[in-house]
């Protein structure tokens, strides 16, 4: 089976990016939209074809999906250590191709409506192309270094797109924040990569992930501060993943990233880029699982679980609908991390891994839908805040219904997509870690509550009087909503466990009815609560928030994490460390350099008199030279 054409999937968006980027001024906006959509459509078709070939045409060997790798050596460090560039096809990369291409295509189509009339329309599509290219490249990477390169590329495109409204100071600040925080996390990633490369002598996923391979078996041979060096490396790599996936405590950039255009939030900060961290852990899952009996994996699980809870609590109190969705995303990403963390490896033991990937898949669909729906609402009322909305169901029927579907899906109501994946996660957690199971259950309830809080707040609740009556968005925006809505209903029915598993063998998953019933029950309780609070305009919610008092205030301010970070960076790092260093640098390092420069200037001022431009000086030099030479010759002759 030849999968070499897969290289086209990332290259087509790259071509679109270059085309739109270079001829930015020449191409008419209408045309650039079509170019972007068409390019992504091609990639999408290829992705679906690849998935079909891989899962259905391609034969399993010994009941295991084979991994296909096609690569060339890019940089040769030593005889044994080289960096390759290539494509790697295995169940999770194929699944990610589907996710990325589908969401990206939908967002492209949606943007044609949402960004209409925007000044940087072509630029926007160029950036989307760049992002799609980077994300495909990340998904298909064959080794740690390649994934790192594309990892940074998605970071850059995320930076560009968050700062898309670069005239807005808050957008600029948000893009900077996102870039710096993720960069900081990527430092951990890079160090982790280097450690792995140093101790195992390879960056290749295949070699690294082989359970009988040298890389995994040799973990006990070196240790550092009581843990295996490889464990440290994996934790550092996870820090990189946590930065991208907005895990606590590196989550602070994600809510601010909502300053970007809403389609961007849907594509990058909900469905694709932020799951890169989850994908990274999943990609190295055998290492996480086998090295030091999964110590690093436990870290992943607890960080994921805590982030999930933490974000869900904050989401309840936020009033900006995009921020609610952002915290919701963070919470769901924590869920996925947690699922990975509680997963085993073989067969049905690996249900957590499967559930994590499954949730990644379904979450991408319904979270993108939620964001696009929110974008549609924002487009109509020109505000992000709940207080400006209400009663919109009369004006925007399609948005209403699709948003409802997505909200039901994320709340885990059967038969919508979220139910199936969330159920698997809870099963995995129940089997491996009871504490995390209860955390997950509580988060599920909170999720249902805050999702329906904003749903009721937007579409029901008070009947706000609008200056301009809002109206339904154009077809370019509603089509993706409907498409993703349909997907959110059906994708849960895919027998995911047969395709994507940790050991790639596939198993048959059964619904665990008691657990499923509990989960659904919790979700429904959340929905009912928010129905009571928010369906009709009343002051119940306010009373409750008063009852919580200080805790509510803390939550509303996101537990003051932004302020803590600011305090640490501004007061401690800037003032106590950076300022003295800067002073030293300016005073002594620069002073030395400038002193040398000044001396040079002074000396050249002195000696430039030689080249005075006065012909008499030249004549004098000529005379003196002649006299000296003549004297020398006379001396030589008469000798």
């Amino acid at each position: 089976m030849n999968f070499n054409y897969v290289i086209l999937i990332p290259l087509i968006p790259l071509a679109v990016f270059l085309l739109l980027g270079i001829f930015y001024k020449k191409i008419k906006p209408a045309v650039s939209g079509y170019i972007g959509v068409f390019g992504l459509l091609t990639s999408t078709v290829l992705s679906y074809y690849t998935a079909f070939q891989y899962f259905f045409v391609q034969e399993k060997v010994d009941g295991v999906y084979q991994t296909f790798v096609s690569k060339t050596t890019w940089m040769n460090f030593t005889d044994t250590l080289a960096i390759d560039m290539g494509i790697l096809i295995d169940p999770i990369s194929v699944m990610m191709l589907i996710v990325v291409s589908t969401i990206s295509l939908m967002v492209h189509i949606y943007s044609r409506g949402y960004m209409k009339g925007d000044e940087g329309y072509t630029k926007f599509f160029a950036f989307l192309g760049l992002f799609s290219f980077s994300m495909f490249g990340l998904v298909l990477a064959t080794n740690l270094f390649q994934i790192y390169i594309f990892w940074e590329l998605v970071g850059v495109s995320s930076f560009l797109l968050i700062g898309y409204y670069y005239t807005k100071p808050s957008a600029v600040a948000a893009s900077k924040k996102a870039f710096i925080v993720t960069r900081f996390a990527d430092l951990g990633f890079l160090i982790g990569i280097l450690i792995v490369g140093y101790y195992t002598g390879t960056y290749d996923f295949e070699t690294l992930n082989n359970p009988e391979g040298n890389a995994i078996l040799s973990w006990a041979s070196t240790s550092f501060m009581g843990l295996s060096v490889l464990t440290w490396a994996l934790i550092l790599i996870f820090i990189g993943g946590a930065g991208k996936s907005a895990m606590f405590p590196l989550h602070i950039w994600l809510p601010d990233a909502m300053e970007g255009p809403t389609p961007v939030s849907a594509l990058i900060h909900a469905a694709t880029m932020v799951v890169a961290g989850v994908y990274l852990v999943a990609r190295l899952f055998p290492m996480y699982y086998f090295v030091e009996d999964g110590f690093a994996l436990n870290v992943v699980a607890y960080v994921g679980g805590f982030s999930s809870l933490f974000a869900a609590i904050i989401a309840v109190t936020q009033n900006d609908i995009k921020r609610v969705l952002a915290f919701s995303t963070m919470s769901q990403l924590g869920y996925m991390m947690m699922a990975l963390g509680v997963s085993g490896y073989d067969g049905h033991e690996g249900v957590g891994y499967m559930a994590s990937m499954f949730h990644l898949f379904t979450h991408a669909m319904f979270k993108a839908l939620l964001f696009l729906g929110a974008g549609s609402v924002i487009h109509a009322v020109h505000s992000n805040y709940l207080k400006d909305m209400g009663g919109l169901r009369k004006y925007m029927p399609i948005t209403n219904i699709t948003f409802l579907i997505a909200a039901l899906a994320i709340s885990g109501v059967p038969p919508f997509a979220g139910f199936w994946s969330k159920d698997e996660i809870l099963v995995a957690a129940f089997e491996h870690n009871k504490l995390l199971y209860f955390v997950g259950l509580f988060v599920a309830g909170l999720t249902a509550f805050y999702m329906f809080r904003i749903y009721f707040g937007i579409f029901w609740g008070k009947d706000t009087q609008y200056k301009h009556a809002p109206h339904e968005s154009p077809i370019a925006m509603t089509f993706p909503l409907m498409f993703l809505g349909a997907l959110s209903v059906v994708v849960g029915l895919i027998p995911f466990s047969e395709f994507v598993t940790a050991d790639k063998a596939g198993f048959v998953a059964h619904l665990n009815y008691p657990l499923a019933a509990i989960a659904v029950g919790v979700g429904v309780v959340g929905i009912i609560l928010s129905y009571i609070f928010y369906k009709k305009e009343n002051d119940l919610a306010e009373k409750f928030s008063k009852a919580f008092g200080v805790f509510y205030k803390w939550t509303f301010n996101k537990f003051y994490f932004d302020e803590i970070y600011l305090f640490v960076t501004r007061k401690i790092i800037f003032n106590r460390i950076s300022a003295p260093i800067a002073y030293f640098d300016k005073k002594y390092v620069d002073g030395f350099m400038e002193g040398m420069g000044n001396k040079t200037v002074v000396v050249s001022e002195k000696i430039k008199g030689i080249q005075s431009g006065k012909f008499q000086d030249y004549a004098f030099a000529f005379l003196a030279g002649f006299v000296i030479l003549a004297m020398v010759f006379i001396y030589l002759w008469t000798k």
Binding site: F620, L623, A624, V627, A630, I634
Partner: protein, 180 residues
């Protein structure tokens, strides 16, 4: 007798030359130069090259000096004094010149010139024929070249000197002034 005249001439030449290059008054400097040129004409007379002496007097003393005086008068007023330069530089240049002179004199006195005793003179016929002769030893070609050169120099001098003033800064800035 001739010996004494030569020494007198030599002293005139050297003294006035020095006066010419050190005088701070422009016009005097030119007149000192005139004396030097006349002294040189005297030397030509002494060695019986009368025609050359005549040329020296007419072209140099008559033509060039007058030209220089005119230019001095055009660009200066008569009593204009020259700026003085630094004494250190003067000493330095003087020293270098003296050294150069030493080099010259050592070379000259180290060489034994094969002097031929004679009292040949040259009359105008010979010069005129020599200049126009195209036989061996004739100077018709350099003569023609010189004539062309003189013509070119003359035209060039006229064209250059005729050039109009470029600077326009002294024109009154009428409009802006009126507005104010």
């Amino acid at each position: 007798m001739e010996k004494i005249i030569f020494y007198i001439l030599a002293i005139i030449i050297i003294v006035f030359a020095i006066a010419s290059v050190t005088s701070r008054k422009m016009l005097r400097s030119v007149i000192y130069l005139l004396f030097v040129l006349c002294g040189i004409a005297g030397i030509y007379f002494l060695i019986d090259y009368n025609f050359l002496a005549a040329i020296q007097l007419t072209v140099y003393a008559g033509g060039i000096i007058v030209l220089i005086i005119f230019s001095v008068l055009l660009v200066h007023h008569i009593e204009m004094e020259l700026e003085d330069i630094k004494t250190s530089k003067k000493i330095l240049v003087g020293l270098a010149s003296l050294l150069g002179l030493g080099v010259f004199l050592t070379t000259i006195y180290a060489y034994n010139f094969p002097v031929i005793e004679n009292s040949n003179s040259i009359d105008m016929d010979t010069i005129g024929l020599g200049l126009l002769s195209y036989e061996a030893g004739g100077f018709i070609l350099p003569f023609e070249v010189i004539s062309v050169l003189l013509l070119a120099a003359m035209i060039g001098a006229i064209v250059i000197a005729k050039g109009t003033k470029i600077a326009t800064s002294d024109k009154p800035k009428g409009k802006s002034l009126e507005k104010n």
